[in-house]
């Protein structure tokens, strides 16, 4: 088990710089979640941690040891590749056991490990198949199995559950959590699933274009997004953003006065220029008074419904539990409490207050 | 001791003949390591020989003939076998033309095996009878006969497609048209004046005329298939060395009755020879040198000369042998050999590498073949090219 320390790591492919100085440090046994838009460099970072690629500059240490140039096989890392990278010539069982075999684990123990992960991943009946005869989700689970069979210093997961159905995903997520609680192996986990990110991670690093935008606990990230980008990126549907002008100590957008509390008011004192006023859809409620608007879209997702409303301050989406009884075209009023508002400086896009 | 012998007598009669030699040596307590490499009239064998010599691993004896012997001797790799030659009185039993070839700077370096006569004409009497032609003795008669054969729907001349076959025909024409002296001057000494002379032009024209009497499928044909055409009567005659006889005999034909052998037109008084010989290489091991000497002696021994040549269709190189067991063609050949040797009209065959060094030989053959195969080429052009080729060193 070792802490992971990434210092000022840069990576270029030819002229384009993919990673622009990444700094991340986690404690031994922590569970780090990497999130960020497609193509921001998550997989690239993972493969440098794994030793499959070398940074153009910067260092990576695991525990006390600088591993930047250490060959992959000496790092004792297990990884789930985004592209699976299954050995097509081996059966599922052999794929899973390969890493153990290479580390000279006795046969009996290997078989036991295979059985264990096969049970965990529900692929017991597929053990004798070759990857070519598996479905997409089954392949992904084999890729997982290959990593989980081992007991490495560091786990790297690159979107390991993306091709699984929701039910299986919940189960797998629970298994991973359990495993982590038991073994306390330091883990880096890339995901696009907010639930995974929020429930699994001790810490989350939100990346964008090769730069870490915010690095903190899940709660930090969700309730105190450091930048407009993080605020919009985390949470689905995305946070509603209203560009507002200063009007005295308050804020006005398209003639609508936006509610603020005292803390926010004082924080705003130092900001020149426009301010972005953000509200998460789940913090909007429908009431008899408040910001008036017209219903433009109603999307039921089952347990809740996403409702889009056209208001004077722009289109806003609200997330309401259960069914929504009103019809598109009806007039409604939106309400919220100022504590839920997130404020960003429009110029720097940094959080205010 | 041990003798390793490189040769290309690999099949049928030849192999049997070589075995006789092997038996003789084994009787003397030597071991015989056979190194047979067939193909291309010894081309492959030469390649092997060279690399063996280069790797410092020469065989005891190798089948080399004609001027090639001199070239090898010049490289300083051949052994002096005067000891055997003296003891066996080779000078006495070999015609000078032949023994000269076997010597380098006056010392024997090789032992001759046999003599082939190259200037033979083989004819199918049946075919001639059908066409009402008679077996020719000079080139005018040849063309007359050829015309008649052609008229009777028989291919007049059977011919094959290697450059030595072309040249066999060419040298017979040269000998027949130009005579022995011309032949020697032009094709042995490669005298520029003679090559550029009118006789050569005539030779070339005559030669090209023969082409007209062959069938168009000749290129690429093996000589023995050409012989088979004569045997079957598809063709009337063939200009070929005495090895062709083997084909006739194997097909159950009798000389004089089913086929006739005569000297090529106009060459009855001359003899182009092709002598096979074994060059002896320098060896380090004493015992092997002894074996090598025994080999040389055995080659020239009358018993071997008889067995071998009976099998091969050629005649013994050793003069004054009893030829009772030989057939009429061989007997005629042997008689002509002695006679022409005296008359100084015994000439080496260029086609078979007896006359000129390989480089020049190759170049000349190239020209002759090209001339034969290229309808558009005039005799004059060929003459010019021939002269140039003769200068090849």
């Amino acid at each position: 088990m070792g802490a992971l320390n990434i210092r000022n790591v840069r990576k270029s492919y030819g002229p384009t710089e993919i990673l622009k100085g990444i700094d991340i440090e986690i404690e031994a046994g922590e569970f780090l979640i990497l999130v960020g838009p497609s193509g921001c460099g998550k997989s690239t970072l993972l493969s440098m941690i794994a030793g499959l690629d070398v940074p153009t500059s910067g260092t990576i240490s695991i525990g006390e040891r600088d591993v930047t140039y250490l060959p992959s096989k000496d790092r004792d890392i297990a990884m789930v590749f985004q592209s699976y990278a299954l050995y097509p010539n081996m059966t599922v069982a052999e794929n899973i056991a390969f890493g153990l075999e290479m580390r000279k684990v006795p046969k009996a123990q290997r078989e036991e490990a295979v059985q264990r992960v096969a049970r965990m991943l529900q692929i017991g009946h597929l053990l004798e198949r070759k990857p070519g005869a598996l479905s997409g989700g089954q392949r992904q689970r084999v890729a997982m199995g290959r990593a989980l069979a081992r007991d490495p210093k560091l786990f790297l997961f690159d979107e390991p559950l993306s091709n699984l159905d929701a039910k299986l995903r919940v189960e797998m997520r629970a298994e991973i959590k359990l495993l982590h609680q038991r073994t306390k192996t330091t883990t880096v986990y890339v995901t696009h699933d907010q639930v995974e990110a929020m429930t699994l991670g001790d810490r989350i690093a939100v990346m964008k274009d090769g730069v870490v935008q915010q690095f903190g606990t899940p709660d930090d990230i969700y309730s105190r997004p450091a930048t407009k980008f993080v605020a919009e990126f985390i949470g689905s549907p995305a946070m509603n953003m209203v560009t507002a002008q200063r009007a005295g100590a308050g804020l006005v957008a398209h003639g609508v006065e936006l509610a603020l509390d005292d803390g926010q008011r004082s924080a705003l004192a130092g900001v020149r220029g426009e301010v972005i006023y953000g509200l998460r859809p789940e913090n909007l409620t429908f009431a008899d008074s408040g910001l008036p608007g017209t219903l433009v879209m109603i999307e039921p997702t089952g347990p809740e419904t996403y409702v889009s409303v056209d208001t004077a301050a722009g289109q806003m989406t609200a997330r309401v539990p259960g069914h929504f009884r009103q019809q598109v075209g009806e007039r409604v009023h939106l309400q919220w409490s100022p504590v839920h508002a997130h404020l960003f400086d429009a110029a720097s896009e940094k959080r205010v207050g | 001791g041990e003798v390793e012998v490189l040769h290309w007598w690999t099949s049928g009669g030849e192999a049997k003949a070589a075995s006789a030699l092997k038996a003789t040596l084994q009787a003397k307590g030597h071991t015989w390591k056979d190194f047979a490499v067939a193909g291309g009239g010894g081309d492959s064998a030469m390649t092997v020989l060279k690399s063996r010599v280069v790797s410092g691993n020469s065989p005891a004896a190798a089948q080399i003939k004609g001027p090639g012997l001199q070239e090898w001797a010049k490289e300083g790799v051949l052994a002096n076998i005067d000891g055997v030659a003296k003891a066996e009185k080779w000078d006495a039993v070999l015609p000078k033309v032949v023994s000269d070839v076997m010597k380098y700077k006056g010392n024997y370096i090789a032992a001759p095996v046999n003599v082939h006569r190259v200037n033979w004409l083989w004819a199918n009497p049946e075919a001639f009878k059908k066409a009402g032609a008679k077996v020719p003795t000079n080139w005018d008669e040849f063309f007359a006969a050829a015309d008649k054969l052609k008229a009777a729907g028989i291919i007049p001349v059977a011919h094959g497609g290697q450059n030595w076959q072309d040249f066999t025909t060419f040298e017979s024409v040269a000998l027949g048209v130009g005579g022995a002296d011309f032949y020697k001057k032009a094709l042995v000494q490669l005298d520029a004046g003679t090559i550029n002379g009118p006789v050569m032009l005539k030779v070339l024209e005559t030669f090209k005329k023969v082409k007209g009497y062959t069938d168009k499928n000749a290129p690429g044909r093996d000589w023995n298939l050409a012989t088979a055409m004569v045997i079957k009567g598809e063709a009337g005659m063939q200009l070929m060395g005495d090895w062709a006889k083997g084909e006739f005999i194997a097909a159950g034909k009798t000389p004089g009755k089913d086929f006739v052998c005569v000297a090529a037109p106009g060459t009855a008084k001359s003899f182009t020879f092709n002598v096979d010989s074994f060059a002896m290489f320098k060896l380090k091991n004493e015992a092997n040198v002894k074996a090598q000497n025994d080999l040389a002696a055995a080659i020239m021994a009358p018993e071997f000369q008889e067995t071998f040549n009976l099998n091969k269709g050629s005649i013994p190189v050793r003069l004054g042998m009893n030829l009772d067991k030989f057939d009429d063609c061989a007997k005629l050949s042997a008689k002509d050999f002695v006679d022409t040797a005296k008359a100084n009209s015994l000439v080496p065959s260029v086609a078979h590498g007896m006359a000129v060094p390989p480089a020049a030989e190759g170049a000349i053959k190239d020209v002759v073949s090209q001339f034969w195969n290229t309808d558009a080429m005039s005799a004059k052009d060929a003459q010019v090219k021939l002269a140039a080729a003769a200068k090849t060193k």
Binding site: F81, Y87, N89, K130 | T10, N57, N224, E247
Partner: protein
């Protein structure tokens, strides 16, 4: 060819080459195999045949193995200069074999393996390396790099990746290389005749000696039978090895 080899000599001489044998006989085959003369020895092709096997099997194995290793390194473990190295090796493909005969025999002479089976095998291996390397390298280029990465992560070293991942995925190209090398080596005449010893001569030399006569009667039926015998092992290799042209080796390996 087959028909001719089943004829007897009389029929060969009499008939057209394309006619069918009237009374098929295996005599020619028997003769070619065990009693035809190839020089002063009349043991047929049999000894040559075994020589060839002794030579071809190790030479093919060694050169194929070396080729696949080279290909593996040059495609999956590239280093500075490896492309240049490959290009330099590749040019060897174009070396005319005639050029190397003499110097090669000199070198073999130095090492004391001239005119021996070992020498011949060595020559074939050296001559084969450029093409086998070429085949494997260019095939391996197409294998997904991710597989190598995954295996490194799993703790596999250079050799283990080769043995466990790369080799199993190279079956088709292996077949091709085996076919190529076997055919070349089995049918090679020039090296065989030049570098072998008196009693290690390969079958092509035997066949050549048997079929090429400078001045005596040709036995076409025996020649043909001999040629057939000489060509049988290759047929065998083709049929056996050819089975392993399996399909879709990398199916399911990666997404993308």
């Amino acid at each position: 060819m087959l028909t001719t080899s089943l004829k007897d000599m009389d029929q060969v001489r009499a008939g057209s080459l394309l006619s069918l044998p009237t009374s098929p006989t295996l005599d020619a085959w028997r003769k070619a195999w065990s009693s035809a003369c190839t020089g002063t020895d009349c043991g047929g092709l049999q000894p040559f045949f075994w020589n060839s096997i002794l030579m071809a099997v190790p030479a093919v194995m060694i050169s194929t193995l070396i080729g696949s290793l080279n290909g593996y390194v040059l495609s999956k473990w590239k280093f500075k200069g490896s492309e240049l190295m490959f290009a330099l090796m590749l040019f060897g493909v174009f070396m005319p074999m005639q050029v190397v005969l003499l110097p090669m025999s000199q070198v073999l002479g130095w090492f004391g393996i001239a005119s021996s089976l070992t020498g011949l095998i060595t020559v074939h291996v050296i001559a084969g390396i450029p093409s086998t390397t070429l085949f494997f390298r260019n095939y391996y280029i197409g294998l997904p790099d991710e597989l190598i990465k995954a295996a490194t992560l799993d703790g596999a070293g250079f050799w283990q990746i080769f043995r466990r991942i790369v080799l199993p995925l190279s079956v088709p190209i292996m077949v091709v290389t085996l076919i190529w090398q076997f055919t070349n080596i089995w049918n090679d005449f020039l090296y065989g005749v030049v570098f072998s010893g008196a009693d290690s001569k390969p079958i092509t030399v035997g066949l050549n000696n048997l079929a090429n006569t400078s001045s005596t009667v040709k036995e076409y039926n025996v020649d043909m039978a001999a040629a057939m015998i000489a060509a049988l092992p290759t047929l065998f290799v083709y049929v056996v090895a050819g089975k392993y042209f399996v399909r879709g080796l990398t199916a399911g390996a990666v997404k993308g």
